[in-house]
Each structure stands twice: as structure tokens, then as C-alpha cells.
Subunit: 144 residues, 6 copies
Amino acid sequence: MIFVTRKTHFNAAHRLHNPNRSDDWNSETYGKCNYPNWHGHNYIIEVTVAGSPDPETGYVIDLGDLKSIINEKVLEPCDHRNLNIDVPFLEGVIPTSENLVKAFYDQLKDEVEAAASEGSILYSVKLFETERNIAEYCPYITIG
Amino acid sequence: MIFVTRKTHFNAAHRLHNPNRSDDWNSETYGKCNYPNWHGHNYIIEVTVAGSPDPETGYVIDLGDLKSIINEKVLEPCDHRNLNIDVPFLEGVIPTSENLVKAFYDQLKDEVEAAASEGSILYSVKLFETERNIAEYCPYITIG
Amino acid sequence: MIFVTRKTHFNAAHRLHNPNRSDDWNSETYGKCNYPNWHGHNYIIEVTVAGSPDPETGYVIDLGDLKSIINEKVLEPCDHRNLNIDVPFLEGVIPTSENLVKAFYDQLKDEVEAAASEGSILYSVKLFETERNIAEYCPYITIG
Amino acid sequence: MIFVTRKTHFNAAHRLHNPNRSDDWNSETYGKCNYPNWHGHNYIIEVTVAGSPDPETGYVIDLGDLKSIINEKVLEPCDHRNLNIDVPFLEGVIPTSENLVKAFYDQLKDEVEAAASEGSILYSVKLFETERNIAEYCPYITIG
Amino acid sequence: MIFVTRKTHFNAAHRLHNPNRSDDWNSETYGKCNYPNWHGHNYIIEVTVAGSPDPETGYVIDLGDLKSIINEKVLEPCDHRNLNIDVPFLEGVIPTSENLVKAFYDQLKDEVEAAASEGSILYSVKLFETERNIAEYCPYITIG
Amino acid sequence: MIFVTRKTHFNAAHRLHNPNRSDDWNSETYGKCNYPNWHGHNYIIEVTVAGSPDPETGYVIDLGDLKSIINEKVLEPCDHRNLNIDVPFLEGVIPTSENLVKAFYDQLKDEVEAAASEGSILYSVKLFETERNIAEYCPYITIG
């Protein structure tokens, strides 16, 4: 099993706020991340595909193709945008890193697997909100 | 001459927009950076003080003191905030990196120089809007 | 399964030395790392929690809470300290990265899991002694 | 299970080209990576060993020994070399990152495991062709 | 004086060889860097412009424009190429970092200054051959 | 004027303490950095030489030679050592970054300038105590 990863980046504004709860609950739960006029991040995203290299090309996936798919499915809708307002596939999602990384995975899965070598899977999506705060979604790791 | 630098970070939302010009001019001039619902960055700030080490302490400035001054004068007003709306000392400033770095320098100068060794100066402030886009203000470099 | 990671840092002095063996054995086994007057590192620590986001908050764990727990349980006892002498929970431990990372995991497990969403686990602790020398303890990966 | 990783680097020239296919196929498949006069990279390699620390030394593997083995088996043959022409163990291998990382793993496995603590395994080899394009070979992760 | 910097990257093959000197001289002078079948690097380039922000835009130079000029004048001719063979503006230049950085500066100067605010200058070009080996050309710093 | 820089690293223990002042003064002045049993850092050092490339070699200085000089004059005495106790050329120096960087410059100047192209100078030495705390000594920058 070979894992290939493409790393890229975008920036966006967001705010953590659960509209089903009171302002006090939101302020207490999210602290600075709930400030009303938004803040933002330079997000870094790492997308990992697992599979066997195609014997003709030596590629699990052409990383140029992977870059194009990430651009189309994640960066074009999100880059320089407000994640609470502007992104159709994030409607109703509280934009924590945990929720974003799951939404990005779902956005990418079908196109990435269609472009990769036979039998390959989208293994994980990892998101650095800052270089200190990181979330990863990997449905293939099971515990216990 | 010894230069000491403290590096720290904050994140914020912003938007490039000159309210004295038309929406078309703004959209053409700033492109994605003019999108109406804000975007944001993990800003990295580097503050450099130049001087001679105090012979008793060996410090040009105690970097713990420098960290506290940057926190009070720049990070508390800016962190998790909207640079176009929330920051009193940026009122009327288009928040390009060039303009921010000059404003941060002016915020810091007096307190930093008061805390540093005799004769030291605030030499420069450098701001990484992303790791690829950087601005620095240094009034002591002259050309020609 | 979502994985969230908080990255932080501290610095400390240490020395590799097994008091049950001769000085010659120690010098031959550990080389420079056995020098008598200590050396030191800027350690980077990454703590990863695995679980499902709480549906109300969108958090597996509030990374501010995770930061506070790491501060209290690892950074306060270790930062700017001598790992061979000053840290009660490292008494009798040869401070190789392998041994440190296991000890840090044990320090953190209960409080981290109590602060995280229902069913979450402390998945791993990773320690960068330098950016080239790294150890990770993850009791959930089994082989063969 | 403790994982220890040594990170190091080399640089080399290469070109992606499958000699069993036409020039047109190669140009279309590999794009810029097929340019005839070579291009090159600063490769970063991370080698991870999994095992239990030896109770006498506290080491899964002495990272100085691991560094020496990587130097002898990978860096000496590859550093400042042309991966398509100069490296005996890469003869007949199209030097994609996927193929390189598998070849490096095979080069390293026996010597690394002989130098590590009882029962340890060479867990994975990871190769950064650039900081954005990454491949990893880990035969111990199974899916489904 | 404000300094704005754009950081970008390309990769290329090269070899250090002075065709006016003997093979022995070249081998002794350049060591591994003289190996006949080329090696290569992921080069990082930082281009710095100095000037005053345009009062209308707040820009010393639009960093999107600067990116386009670097792409056209340096990256398109050099990326995935052989610096000894493929690049017209490097004909006759031994591709040390010192020589490259001067050649890149000359390539960029006119177009960058035409795109920047009134009175701005191309201040410096910095090239990272690796993250450890760096060259910078800055004609405005004088010594003594 | 071309600037070439070599970046390297070492680690060491140290403690900030002025033996001519009381323990209370030291504790108040240096805080955690005064803890009695030492702490330590992974220091990164950047050495910059300024000059004109030799027309035969294209080098201001062979960076392999510069690496060897830094190894001999700074890393061998300091690496894995205690900067307050073990290093002859630091005797009587309080090991703040400001004082270290000046001492390293003095250690390096003569040998570096003898190895560099005609007329070159040792321009600066920069020391990262951590990635956030940095000192640089550059005797050629004058102010006012």
C-alpha cells in the first residue's frame, strides 16, 4: 500500500456559532472564535490517496490531476470566502476544523477515486487551521 | 549593533476595499481580496529591536517584555477580529500588508524603546500575510 | 473517526545516562548525548485525540481546553527544567524520546479523555526532540 | 508500540519516462516531468521504525545508527546523482515518488531491523519530492 | 520605506562545471556538484520590492502582478528544466546560486519596477538552493 | 554585492545568570531562564558572507568550506555542551542570544574571510534560540 499526498492552501473567514443556541452559550463555548465580525485563517489542506502504482505510469494518482480536483471541489468555492455564508456545500455546518475536514472529504471522494489507479481510495483529508490546530478525517482507521 | 527579533502570530478577517472608489474599481483592483463577505489570514509578525546589550543583563531587550508589549498593543486589539471594523488604530486604513505593518510599527515604537537598553531603537516590523506574501517596514534603511 | 491535534513546545536540558551501568558503557552507548554537563532541546509536542464531534459544538475537544491540559500536565513541570532532575513524573526514567513520549501520554490520558466528547480517546503523543529526531507513542496501532 | 523517525535529505536529478511507450505518450502522461534534459529535487526522506524500547538503553533504535544506515544504503548512491542513470538499485524503475519510496524501503529493511531492538520493524518510509508532493510506503497498514 | 516580498518556487537540474578548466580542476573545485549526470533542487525564490504604498490602493506592488512577472521571466524558462542547457538567459553562466540570483535580478528589474508604485525599486532577489544554502543579490547595500 | 548564507544547527544546555548579582536579582531578571538545573535549546545558526563571486568558480565562498569552518569553530565546542561551563571562548559570557551571536561572529571572522573570494567579509551571524527568539550581529549596518 502506497500513500500519496498533495498539500495545498487557501484562506477564508469564519466564525464559530451554533444558531440553535443562545448568544451566551455561544460566547462561553467558543470564546474568541465566536466574535461577531469574523476572523480568518490560512488553511493548509493535505489530501492522501492510498493504492498501488499503475504499472505503466508508476503513479497511484497523477498529483497534477489531484491538484486540479482539489482546486475545483474545495479551493474555488472556499478560497477568499466566508465559510459561514458563501459555500453551498457548507450550508448548515458549524465550521470547526472537525466539521470542515469531513465535508471536504465528502466533496473529494468520488472524483479523486475515479482519477486514481484501479482500487485506490481517498484515504484521508487533513486540515491545518493554524500550524498548531489540526484536524484529520480518515474513515479507514478503526480502533478497538 | 545587535538585532533581536520576537516572532508571534494572530489571526483576523479583512477585505481590501477603498470606500472612496467605485465597486467596479475595487473589484478590478483587488480581485478576490475584495470579495464582500471577508476572508482571513493567520498573520505572523516579527518585531526587531536594534541596540547594544545591557552589560548587566546581556539583553538588548528582555524578549518576554517584548512579547508582552506586542500582545498588548497589537494582538489584543487584532486577534480573532475584523481588521476593517474592529480595530480603533486601523480606522480609515485599507488593510493591505503594507499599511498594516506601518500601523503596527507606530503602535509599538514608544513602549518598545522604553523597555529596551539605552539607545536601542525599534528597527523593523515584518508581517507575513501568508508564508508567500510578506511586508516589512524599516524606517532606518535609506537608498541612493 | 476524526483526529484533532494540538501542537505546542517547551525547552529543557537533559542527558542520556543509565545509572545502573558503567561510565564507559554509557559513553559508548550514548556518545555526545552522555556528556556530563547536560545539553538541551526545543521540544515540540503533538497531542492527538480521536473521536466524533459533539453535535452541539462541532468539537471532538475544545483545543483551548487541550492546550490548558498540556500546559498543566507536561509544560509546567518540564519547561525550562532539567528532565533528569526536576520532573517528579520522570523519576527513574532515562529521558530518551521513546521514554518521554510514553510518560507524557500517561500524564495526559485521563484529563484529556474527560474533557473530550463522549467516547473519544487520547490517540497518540508525538515528540520532536529536534526536527530530525522524532518519537511517537500510539497504543492503538497494532501490527500483524 | 513506539514509533521513532529519522528525517534526512538528499538532492538528485530525474525525469519521468517509460521507455516501453512512445514519446507522445510520455509527454502527454508526464507533462513537464518528462522534459528531456532532466530536472531535480531536494528530496526529504523520513524513515520510521516501530518497536519497544530496549530496557537498558531506552532506545527502539539508536538514531545515530539509523542515520548511518540511511546514509550508506540510500544517500550515498543517490545524493547529487541522476536517479534514472546512476543508481544500481533503481535500474528499470520509473522514478516516481511512489516507486522510489518502495525501493528505498527494500534497501533499508534488513539493516534497519538488525540494528533495532528485538522485535522492531521498519514501519514506513516517506519521501517528500517537494513539500507539496509526498509518497509513503507502509506495508503494515491494511484496509477493509 | 516599505519592503514587500513574494516567495515562490521551481525545480530544476544543474551541474557546476567551468568549461574553460580541466575535468580534474572541476572535480576538485565542485566535488559532488560536478557529477556528470546532473543533480537538482527545489529552488525557492524571494523577490523584494521597496517603495511607498500607492495612496489609492495601499500597494507598493500588487503581489498578484509580481507573481505573474516572476512566472513569466523566471519560472517559465527555468521550471523542470536543466539550468546548464535549457535557459537562454543563463547561457555561459556557471549556475552557482550566486550567479543565478544576479541573473534572476536582471531578468526581473524592468518589468517589476514598471508594475510597482512610483519610485519603487527591485530591492533584492534571494534564492534558496536548499534550506541550508542561500544566496541574495541586493545592489543597494553598500559597505564601508 | 552578493550575500551567501549557510544555515546549520546544534543543541546545548545553558542558564542565564549574572554571578556578580544576587540570586534574587537573577531570579527576577531572568525568570525561568535562571532555573538552577539548566535548560536547553536546538539552536539554529545562519552565517552570511558578502562579496563578489570569484569569476573562475562563481563562488563568493564554497559553502562546503563555510560549513567546515562553522563546524570547527562553533559546533565542535558547543554541540551537546553546556554553554556556561564547557566552552572556552564563552568563559565569562552570560549566554544570552545577544552575547552568543557576537561571540560566534568573533570566532568565525578570520577563517571565513580567508576562505572567501578576494574582498569578501563576514557580514552577519544570526542565531535562533527558538523559532520565535532570534538575535543577529551585523557590524556593517549603521543607523542615523
